[in-house]
């Protein structure tokens, strides 16, 4: 997940496969998934071509010399895995068995998957009596001894593949039904489903559009494991004589018959057993891979596989003493000072080698020289670079961002979706996803570089030093804890307060942020609050320990206009009260105009212009800022495309060489393609990263 939903959207767009080749390419990247796919292809080939391959070898008995040992080619390839108690070659039988095994397992799993999950989704989506009745039906099937069912089927019909499939499928339906029901009921309780229903979308359409995509990944995982369950059940049924009838043979039958000989001829049962295990493991691995590849929220993880290590190794040359991250999901904050020092005067290269990403823009230091700003600045970020690891390699999403903010001041980080502003805030707060990695720069908070702190030191500062407010208050609050407990947590962690004292503090905080009846509401859960109230709670949590810097990541995006104003007022009040520095991350120009003192406009992972809000908005010194301001009347749909600027922001993996904005810039010249502009002063307390910044300032 790339930080916020909006940014995730970009990743989805960029990761969407263009064609089947794309999938194949993705598959080839994952060695495990590839091996698994290969195994399944071999099994499928055996299933289809097996009978042709082995002919009558599989049933050729040799009673005079049974139980030949495996791993000898003396008697031909078919005997390489030994022969069974009737002298039949195990290898040939396994190939012949693949077809029968699959013709039972595949339809049985598919049937139960399709019927069970459709039924479950339907039941979960509608709820009410449909749900109750469906669940009770599942209970009945589950409590029914499937063996009795099997004996009846054998007795009433004849044992056949079709009857077997029927028995196995019916027995497994409840599992899918219940899983699908649980997940879709969970989804139903979420907002967007209500919205879908309000729009009058039909049941099945909603299920197809909203429920199925979320439920299917889980069901696929279950199905992959079920594959093995079905094969093993078929095995025990075969052993009871209800399963596959000789001379047909399945792996399950081979295991069941061979287990009698485990002491004298282990290979008879072990090899088909291995076939079952390997096939199931392959199916599971592939299902897990498919789940990662289809789930946008999970997809970034693919990039992690080995990728992180590779990049780190590559970057090792520059960051020789980078500490190995031992905090798991907590993102690493390698000491990049030296690398930055070494490379800071090198011109930015146009290649996308990750190592060169460490190189930062020249001249950033000129805007907020650390030497002079550290004393008055609450937070000073310098040349921050963040890479995200994708399957295609690392992509620079933050490319040398610098800004500073003073106590009691509000700085707005303004930019479109995907420009890297949230990533910047998360990097500063040390909350990057594992896929993202800080590869250069520093963030100074009262003389300490936040990016190089150990886990313990960072935790000490999280709260009293830096607080962060997220945009989606519903998902940012733990749904299963009372808000009181969540608000009390900072006090419990940092001030080691008793449960009771922390709770009192929590109530006081709730009162401060304007939650009515705070004392009684402290025992309620997040879902019992309105959106605005939740945002207040989130802010309360962030300011609980009076942080020096508060990072507010789109704090009002999900709220309606009146609530927005209330929340911003609250933030303003708190900032004044606590003399904290507020970094407001937003794409909303109006918000910036009303509430911020200074603004830093970001584009494609870099700051393109900074300055006091009023002056920047009155006279932008960068064509991008100008474009933004011109689009204001059209900016009704928040986060929508900017009408007045043609094109769209670049993919982080293919940022144009030279000036990142040149492809959309009305003023672009040749120089823009060859030389990246640096952020340079264009006036008092102002700077812009444009070759024509001065021209615009003076115009």
């Amino acid at each position: 997940m790339l930080g916020t939903d909006k940014e995730r959207g970009t990743a989805v767009a960029s990761g969407r496969p263009g064609s089947r080749h794309r999938w194949l390419a993705l598959l080839l990247q994952d060695r495990f998934a590839f091996a698994a796919a290969l195994v399944l292809v071999v099994v499928a080939l055996c299933a289809v071509l097996g009978p042709l391959l082995v002919g009558d070898l599989a049933t050729r008995q040799n009673l005079r010399d049974p139980g030949r040992e495996p791993f000898s080619l003396e008697h031909g390839w078919a005997y390489v895995l030994g022969s069974d108690s009737l002298g039949r070659p195990v290898a040939a039988r396994m190939i012949a068995a693949a077809s029968t095994t699959m013709s039972v397992a595949v339809p049985a799993v598919l049937c139960s998957l399709v019927v069970g999950s459709l039924w479950g989704m339907w039941a979960g989506f509608h709820g009410g009596w449909r749900e109750s009745v469906s669940l009770r039906v599942a209970d009945v099937i589950l409590s029914f001894p499937s063996l009795l069912l099997a004996v009846v089927v054998l007795y009433v019909f004849s044992p056949s593949v079709a009857a077997l499939v029927l028995v196995l499928a019916v027995a497994r339906i409840p599992v899918y039904l219940r899983t699908a029901r649980a997940e879709s009921a969970e989804l139903r309780s979420r907002l967007f489903m209500d919205a879908a229903r309000t729009f009058g979308t039909g049941g099945w359409a909603s299920i197809r559009r909203h429920v199925a995509p979320s439920v299917l990944p889980t069901l696929l995982t279950v199905a992959a494991l079920d594959f093995c369950f079905v094969m093993l059940t078929e095995s025990s049924l075969s052993f009871l004589g209800i399963g596959i009838q000789p001379p047909d043979v399945s792996w399950g039958l081979m295991v069941a018959q061979g287990r009698q000989e485990l002491r004298s001829a282990w290979w008879i049962a072990v090899f088909p057993g291995l076939a079952i295990v390997v096939t199931t493991v392959s199916a599971t691995v592939l299902a897990a891979w498919a789940r990662l590849s289809t789930d946008p929220g999970q997809r970034w993880r693919r990039g992690l596989r080995g990728g992180g290590r590779r990049v780190r190794a590559k970057a090792g040359g520059a960051v020789a003493d980078a500490p190995v991250p031992d905090e798991g999901l907590q993102s690493p904050a390698p000491d990049q000072d030296r690398a930055v020092a070494q490379d800071s005067h090198r011109d930015r290269d146009v290649t996308h080698d990750s190592r060169d990403r460490d190189v930062t823009h020249d001249g950033t230091a000129t805007v907020t020289p650390p030497s002079e700003s550290t004393r008055s600045d609450a937070l000073a970020v310098e040349s921050l670079c963040v890479d995200v690891h994708t399957p295609a390699g690392p992509a620079a999403v933050v490319r040398g961002v610098s800004f500073s903010v003073r106590f009691g001041e509000t700085l707005a980080l303004l930019g479109e979706s995907g420009c890297g502003k949230s990533m910047t805030a998360h990097a500063v707060a040390g909350l990057l996803d594992p896929a993202a990695e800080v590869v250069g720069g520093q963030a100074r908070l009262g003389g300490e570089n936040l990016l190089t702190l150990t886990g313990r030191a960072r935790r000490r500062l999280a709260g009293p030093g830096v607080g962060i407010v997220f945009q989606d208050a519903l998902s940012a609050l733990n749904p299963v804890q009372t808000v009181g407990a969540q608000l009390a947590e900072p006090f419990r962690i940092h001030e080691r307060m008793s449960r009771r004292a922390a709770r009192a503090e929590a109530v006081r905080l709730m009162e401060r942020v304007g939650i009515p009846e705070a004392r009684s509401r402290a025992g309620a859960y997040p879902h019992q609050f309105s959106g605005g109230m939740r945002q207040r709670l989130l802010i309360a949590m962030a300011v609980a320990l009076r942080p020096r810097v508060l990072l507010a990541d789109e704090p009002t995006t999900a709220l309606d206009v009146t609530v927005q104003a209330q929340i911003m007022d609250l933030l303003g009040e708190l900032r004044g009260e606590q003399r904290m520095a507020l970094v407001l991350i937003t794409h909303d120009l109006g918000l910036v105009a009303d509430h911020a003192d200074r603004v830093a406009v970001m584009y494609a992972g870099a700051v393109v212009e900074t300055g006091p809000v009023a002056r920047v908005f009155a006279k932008p010194n960068h064509p991008y800022t100008r474009g933004l301001l011109e689009s204001v009347p059209a900016e009704q749909h928040k986060g929508g495309r900017l009408n007045s600027i043609p094109g769209s922001p670049p993919d982080p993996r293919s940022v144009p060489a030279g000036c990142a904005f040149r492809t959309r810039c009305p003023m672009a010249r040749e120089v823009c393609a060859t030389r990246p502009p640096t952020l340079s002063p264009t006036g008092a307390d102002r700077a812009a990263a444009c070759h024509f910044g001065k021209e615009l300032a003076d115009a």
Binding site: G128, S132, Q245, L262, S264, G523
Partner: protein, 523 residues
């Protein structure tokens, strides 16, 4: 998982995870507390004086009149209860047990002189009245004794106590083998319930029931008042495990002294003891339906079966050509197993086909799982042979009850021509317990018979002495040469595992009657 519908709760706030923890902890405590009840229910209490025997299955009951059932009989017979007579399986001779001698006083009447000084486990004395009571209870009570059906299916017997030690038994028809039949009637005291089955009987045997913890073990204790020689072991403990390899492992692991019902592949190693049983495996052909109604096809089936291969690769046994084993009255030493001759089988099928026999009709092998080790594999061998001979064959493996419908009259309609996988064990030692049932035109297990064979059987049944032997032997030969209804496969070999500390020589009756008194300490 529940639907929201039926789930209802009043207060939604202020619920703490503590409660979940509480539920979890109490569940844990419950489990921990109860764990001892299973583990502790099985006191070890087995010193060197206890003989540990592991059986394939728990006896369903120890009811004496069900002693002809293998699972019951091998525990009950000659251990807990005894009969008036007993057959020595090695010689085939009838030996005295609770009766010391018997004479045929008329064609339909026998007089038994009973042993004196015998007491039941409850202390009461064994008398002729108890013997008469036992015979009545077994043969004409409402409790449907298995012995009744097995031994007295076609004869009526009335017993009368003359004095304490003299018993007269009369039959409606002349019965030359009545004393043999009575070796299956276990004697119980008159205090036994005549109207209902008893699970834990009182008998006169060397061991009495000490404790039966169902599902776990059955322990017998030596009966101090036993009339005969006291057995070596003071107690015997039976346990049961369904898996042959586990039974064998228990002996190698010194958890049991005797394990029975093993297969060669169970891995008993040098502790395995092989012995000839009275069981004979065979295939019953449904000679009333085409193509099996043609004798050439039935002969072809016999030629097509590789009996040597079966006993090498599938089960332990000796190829055989008749349903009774050596030592049984009526065994014909001149009938050998059919030769394995696939070419001859092919020829015969081809001839029959040329004469218009529908050899393309699918013949179904009705198999029964677990009838002997690797039952399905055995049928695969048969199928392979028949397919090579040019017949069309399918296998259908069934569970016992479904299989019984094919074994017993009335047979299922529309079943098509079938080959039934079957096994016959003549426990009693007289071909009378084989012939009529299995080969008579009207026999309960007979799919086909001929008038000539019926006549031969009838004649043999009334004969006695050497004439009886010759008559039954002739009937077997007739079946084998002219009727060819069966394809007899092999006289099965039993395997048991014996710990080095125990001396025991199994015989052909061991599977039905395992005498604990015969098990001695090796040292």
């Amino acid at each position: 998982m529940t639907g929201p519908g039926p789930l209802r709760t009043r207060s939604t706030a202020r619920r703490r995870p503590k409660r979940a923890t509480g539920v979890f902890l109490s569940a844990l405590a419950l489990l921990a507390g109860s764990a001892c009840s299973v583990a502790g229910a099985d006191p070890i209490g087995e010193g060197p004086d206890t003989l540990r025997v592991v059986l394939p299955e728990e006896p369903p009951t120890l009811e004496p009149c069900d002693a002809s059932l293998t699972a019951t009989g091998r525990v009950t017979r000659a251990n807990i209860t005894e009969a008036l007579t007993e057959r020595d399986p090695s010689t085939g001779r009838l030996e005295p047990a609770l009766a010391v001698k018997w004479t045929r006083t008329s064609a339909t009447s026998w007089t038994f002189t009973l042993r004196r000084g015998v007491t039941f486990h409850d202390g009461s004395a064994f008398t002729a009245a108890a013997a008469a009571f036992s015979i009545r209870r077994a043969t004409d009570s409402a409790i449907e004794c298995n012995v009744d059906g097995y031994i007295f299916s076609d004869s009526e017997a009335t017993a009368r106590a003359v004095d304490d030690s003299t018993l007269v038994v009369t039959t409606a028809e002349p019965d030359p083998i009545l004393p043999l039949r009575l070796s299956f009637v276990e004697v119980v005291p008159t205090s036994t319930n005549p109207k209902a089955r008893v699970r834990e009987p009182v008998g006169t045997g060397p061991y009495r029931i000490d404790e039966w913890s169902q599902g776990r073990f059955l322990r017998l204790k030596r009966y101090a008042g036993y009339w005969g020689e006291a057995p070596d072991y003071a107690a015997a403990k039976y346990v049961w495990r369904a898996e042959g390899s586990v039974r064998a492992a228990m002996v190698t692991n010194d958890e049991a002294d005797v394990a029975i019902g093993l297969a060669p592949e169970d891995g008993a190693g040098d502790r395995a003891v092989e012995f000839v049983t009275n069981e004979v495996s065979y295939l019953r052909m449904d000679a009333t339906r085409a193509p099996l109604n043609d004798i050439r096809i039935r002969q072809a089936v016999n030629y097509a079966i590789d009996r040597e291969g079966l006993v090498t690769a599938v089960f332990a046994g000796r190829p055989s050509g008749q349903l009774v084993s050596k030592g049984v009255t009526g065994y014909n030493p001149r009938i050998g197993p059919w030769r394995y001759d696939p070419e001859r089988a092919k020829e015969l099928v081809a001839q029959a086909r040329a004469d218009g026999v529908p050899t393309g009709t699918t013949v179904t092998i009705i198999g029964r799982n677990g009838i002997y080790p690797k039952a399905a594999e055995a049928m695969e061998v048969v199928q392979d042979g028949l397919l090579k001979a040019g017949l069309k064959v399918e296998i259908k493996m069934l569970d016992v009850n479904a299989w019984l419908e094919y074994l017993l009259r009335p047979f299922p309609k529309n079943a098509g021509p079938t080959l039934l996988q079957a096994q016959h064990g003549n426990q009693a030692g007289d071909a009378a317990f084989t012939m009529e049932q299995i080969y008579g035109s009207e026999g309960a297990q007979s799919s086909y018979g001929t008038p000539a064979l019926d006549a031969a059987i009838d004649k043999a049944q009334l004969a006695s002495g050497d004439e009886r032997q010759r008559a039954f032997a002739r009937a077997f030969a007739l079946q084998n040469d002219e009727v060819v209804r069966d394809a007899v496969m092999a006289n099965m070999t039993g395997i048991l595992a014996l710990s080095p500390g125990v001396r025991y020589r199994p015989d052909s009756a061991t599977n039905d009657e395992m005498r604990l008194a015969d098990m001695r300490r090796a040292d």
